[in-house]
Symmetry: D2
Subunit: 130 residues, 4 copies
């Protein structure tokens, strides 16, 4: 579970979370998720594990405002030959649903072609977390 | 057509466009699209037209790198009672497909409840552009 | 003390923290600083306390990379009639200096003219923190 | 001269440009400045020219709002042995001063140590622009 607050730079002139910022929050959650499972993101990069995003989507259920505390739960939806589908649920502190997101990563080699999901990443994604 | 370049702040340590930044670019394209049709975004806000994003998604087809010039084409996919579905196609200068995106807005009143798409917005979306 | 990690969206194609992102981190630190002193940022806005930034500067002492854990210490450098000068020191987990920043806020009324620093803000800034 | 508009993602819940975003705009201006002088930023990176920011500062003179059109003028304040000081002036379309910024870059080698400003960069900075 990743915990953060909506900061001024996350909001827009309409007074709510600017929608693109949700994906920044989702990425932070992904990195925290991996770190809790023994695979900090810097280790990924050092190990040559590249997993760029090929698809990202989000549904915004209720507006988030400046200072709102949120909890983001990450889960592995599925792992394919070379792809990983991650699901995210964003809740306000009172438990109400604020947003949901899905991000699909594809593992690639240094030549940019897809490769099987590296064992280190597969193990981390399958583990129970700290 | 919105034209921009991938700036250093759009990229990440993997050397490519950070995926969340695409949605910033898409928003800029939406604003340029409306302005070309006589409805600058500041006029929207002044007129009390609020159209927050309820769904956003993107597919990343080929990586964009620092300095890459891109063209983003916006089109209205459909207009519902209170919602607007906008489609975006991002191409590199050589015409190759870099990304596609879909953003759904819902028009709301100051109480946060959905309202019919305001006439001024509907007219702008239906117009041919400058 | 505000604690965070350098996330992928904070980095750039040169592999380090994109300099503008430091100011986002500094703003988060300011909000945490105020919250610890009983003045969460949403309460500021609700109370009509507006304190836009009129000056911001930062010195970057050593590069921060993806996944780096940092601690940011905030302190009040001085409080003037209508202005507040906040100082920030960013350190890596090993204690080494990564960056320093200074941000000057000026308190304004709803008409945009400067006003004396509101008592609630002054008290919070003078308090010892949680 | 770099021209842009304040987009929704540049603003914050106070209804104005979020201060940190000014530095993103300044970076875009720097890249446009170099490109006009024959040194696109991607060519810099390819040529191994690394010039990270060691100091950045900005003064905010008048608030910028959603949709505001701005012009940013860049100029070389000075070039040292290994450093470059760039000055920026941000004006609204009506010519009124909105902000000023100063950014200091230091040229480094792949080992992270400072090196003399590379000739290609020095020439570009000294040239008159397109």
């Amino acid at each position: 579970m990743f915990h953060t607050r909506i900061s001024l730079g996350d909001t827009d002139a309409a007074g709510v979370l600017f929608f693109a910022r949700l994906f920044d929050i989702v990425q932070r959650t992904f990195e925290a998720f991996l770190a809790e499972r023994g695979l900090p993101i810097d280790r990924c990069l050092d190990a040559g594990i590249l997993a760029p995003v090929v698809h990202a989507e989000a549904d915004f259920r209720s507006p988030l405002r400046l200072g709102d505390a949120i909890n983001v739960a990450a889960s592995v939806e599925s792992i394919g030959d070379s792809s990983v589908r991650m699901a995210y649920v964003v809740r306000s502190e009172d438990g109400s649903l604020a947003a949901e997101a899905l991000v699909v990563h594809v593992c690639i080699g240094s030549d940019g072609r897809s490769v099987p999901v590296p064992d280190a990443l597969r193990r981390a994604l399958h583990s129970a977390g700290a």
